[in-house]
């Protein structure tokens, strides 16, 4: 994993809506954009616009945190935690080791 990929991942995580989408996909994988929007209303009544979700999903897909499959001609999204684990290992973990800092 290079520095650019690391940037993409932390940038993808640096937004509450994208973290919310990640939370939703963790509970329920294999969701279409429509389903993610519908579930966001059900969750707490705070709907996210389809346009906003489209952009957030693009960014999550670019970061590698979301894997896309197709159900017929419908785009289906699932989480892929592998890049996140790598990012943790190569950067975060170093700082979290016991004895370092406070």
């Amino acid at each position: 994993m290079n520095a650019d990929q690391l940037d993409h991942i932390f940038r993808a995580l640096a937004d509450p809506t994208r973290r919310r989408i990640i939370d939703r996909l963790r509970e329920q994988p294999d969701q279409s954009l429509f389903q993610i929007c519908a579930a966001s209303v059900a969750e707490d009544g705070k709907a996210i616009s389809r346009q906003a979700v489209t952009q957030h999903l693009d960014m999550l897909e670019k970061s590698g945190l979301i894997r896309v499959t197709w159900s017929g001609r419908t785009k289906i999204h699932s989480l892929d935690l592998k890049p996140l684990r790598e990012a943790v290992e190569i950067w975060l973990a170093r700082h979290l080791q016991e004895g370092n800092g406070r």
Binding site: Q28, S32, F34, Q35, A38, A42, R50, G72, R73, K75
Partner: protein, 131 residues
Amino acid sequence: MKIYVMSVLVDDQSKALEFYTKTLGFVAKHDMPIGGEDRWLTVVSPEDPGGTELLLEPSGHPAAKPFKDALVKDGIPAASFKVDDVDAEFKRLRDLGVRFTTEPMDAGTVRMAVFDDTCGNLVQIIEMIEK
């Protein structure tokens, strides 16, 4: 003013009539030639034969395909129908070979599911939930 007809753009009217009547259970109401191969083809719910008609409209217009494809890609239904029991309807339709993109799920005040109408559209079924 009343809403008497709403349309879905279908790839093939004969195939659509088959699916919307034999599979979904609607009833044909009007079927008239309107030029060329195209028909004025509507169906109604047997629970409300005098109610709003659904026009199975030919999708020959050049804008229809990109529009329909974009909706399908994002999983967005072109029409939404109300049922008493989404889970029962899901099982019935699935057993008839209908392909669902969204299995029954709660979405606030409704329970819903989304399936492929075989004519280029996704269709939503909803059940109102008492809360």
